[in-house]
Amino acid sequence: MILELDDVTVTFTAGPPLRRIHLNAMRNVSLSVAEGETLGLVGESGSGKTTTSRVALGLQRPTSGAVRFDGRPFPKRRRELAGRMQAVLQHPHWSLNPRMRVGQSVAEPLAVLGRPAGDAVTGMLEQVGLEAALAGRYPHELSGGQRQRVSIARALVTKPRFIVFDEAVSALDVSVQVQILNLIKDLQAEYGFSALFISHDLGAVRYVADRIAVMRAGEIVETADTATFYTDPAHEYSKQLLEAL
């Protein structure tokens, strides 16, 4: 198992003192992602998907429960994981630093590791179906789909073992969505990384995921193989979701 979440609960407190609101964004969530596997996570808005991804990335410390990456608990310092896990996030508009050229953005994870970029950047851009010439452009000169491709290139440039896609295609046009989903599938076949693929769109999840987990109000209500899930959802809520599709 590359990633294991064991009985994880995350509680947020909000509001001023004396009338704090406690909100369980995750409730006793247990998940695991196997080597080379793609786990799809679906659920309505506010169900705790992003929180789960942040826990998986080590950006959010669980209130209780354990997280293991590659069999070991998260190290104290994030840097030790540098380059081994990456993410592609939701907003194509904000996924790239508007003040950095595309090439610089893609090279950044390497720079953090102190590795020379070399041809890796152009190679990676070509891998995600972009011309190498794009490296010199600024993000605002790209379309949303192109930007998400650059994000994917940036995530892959260190050849990580695990990538989180949090609503990576949700903001894109249907026609472009498919391009990106195909790209993810192809790259996974080539690089063999494991993935946590988060989306509220069942269609997209079905298209890329090996297994599916359904979240609702911070809880995992069902986990199943993609095939089984679509033919025979166990939970009432899963059935509702499928109907709306």
């Binding site: 509001g15 001023p16 003192p17 004396l18 009338r19 609101i21």
Partner: protein, 328 residues
């Protein structure tokens, strides 16, 4: 209950700010170079006289003790005694407050009565500047409102004093009388200083209002109202004014602080016996108690003002402020 909670929370944080302010003021006043003794007693004073003065005002004690005494006295409503006039500072401040308050109120009123309609009008009337990406608005209008915020009081004040003392234009400079004595003459004497004081704030209010209204104009609910066939005036009245009010009301807090500062110069230029000229003179003479009290008063008014504004904003915009968070 929620309101009570809000108030206590807000009061606590305001008190903390005020405490910070008081420390800063106290430290600043103590750090001033130039001896109060030389200033107060004049060059001919003997060392014994100076020492006696220091003892009288507790200036020979350790600074933190002095601060403690001062703070304790201030919380008890005692602002100390002016070293110059030997009158209680509180009494003198109270006597001078009406002048400053009147000036400020007149200027704030002018800002609201002139600035807000001006801002709304220019925002609603603005034709978008094509192909420029700017917010539009006529060059002349922008220049004029820009000019309003670019003429400092001391320039305008000097000019007004000159023009109105040279040429009989109906309003007079330098004929101030207390409001209790002759309200009409008092008002007549206050018009010019208040006008000088308010030029800036009117312009700023107009600009802020314009920005705020233009921000509201592109909100979907305004488009929805236009789509329902409502008239512009109806939309302005029912939807825009209230929604644009938040930044404008917030601005009024800042403006008040600004105006309190502005009165300093205006009172100086027009020789009005307000708190501002009191502070200027006191700083000049190292009249510690007065400086401390005066500045603390100004900061205190501003802080209280902001609490009130927060409350008002909360009432105006239910998404913010006290009552927010009550979800059904």
């Amino acid at each position: 209950m929620r309101l009570l909670m809000w108030w206590s929370g807000r009061a606590l944080s305001s008190a903390a700010t005020l405490l910070g302010v008081s420390v800063l003021i106290f430290a600043a006043v103590r750090l001033m170079p130039g001896g109060f003794a030389e200033t107060v007693l004049g060059p001919f004073a003997t060392p014994e006289q100076k020492a006696e003065l220091a003892t009288r005002y507790g200036l020979d004690q350790p600074v933190f003790l002095q601060y403690g005494h001062w703070l304790a006295a201030v919380t008890g409503g005692d602002f100390g005694v002016s070293m110059i006039s030997r009158q209680p500072v509180g009494t003198e401040l109270l006597a001078r407050l009406p002048v400053t308050a009147e000036l400020t109120v007149l200027a704030v009123a002018a800002s609201v009565l002139a600035g807000v309609p001006l801002g709304v009008l220019t925002a609603v009337r603005t034709r978008p500047a094509r192909n420029k990406g700017g917010a539009g608005g006529g060059t002349v209008g922008r220049l004029l409102s820009g000019l309003g915020v670019s003429v400092p009081e001391f320039v305008l004040g000097s000019l007004v004093v000159f023009v109105f003392s040279r040429y009989a234009l109906g309003l007079e400079v330098g004929s101030w009388v207390p409001i209790g004595q002759d309200p009409v003459a008092n008002l007549a004497a206050m018009i010019l200083p208040a006008a000088v004081l308010s030029i800036f704030s009117i312009s700023v209010t107009a600009r802020t209002t314009r920005d705020a209204v233009m921000g509201v104009l592109v909100e979907p609910y305004v488009t929805a109202a236009v789509g329902r066939g409502e008239s512009p005036w109806f939309i302005v009245r029912h939807h825009i004014l209230r929604n644009a009010a938040t930044p404008v009301v917030t601005l009024l807090g800042t403006i008040t602080a600004y105006l309190l500062g502005g009165t300093l110069i205006v009172e100086h230029v027009f020789n009005l016996p307000g708190v501002g000229s009191y502070i200027v003179q006191a700083v000049g003479r190292r009249d510690y108690a007065v400086v401390q009290a005066g500045v603390l008063l100004a900061a205190g008014v501003f802080i209280v003002m902001n609490v009130l504004i927060d409350l008002l904003v909360g009432v105006l915009d239910p998404r913010l402020g006290v009552l927010a968070g009550r979800r059904s």
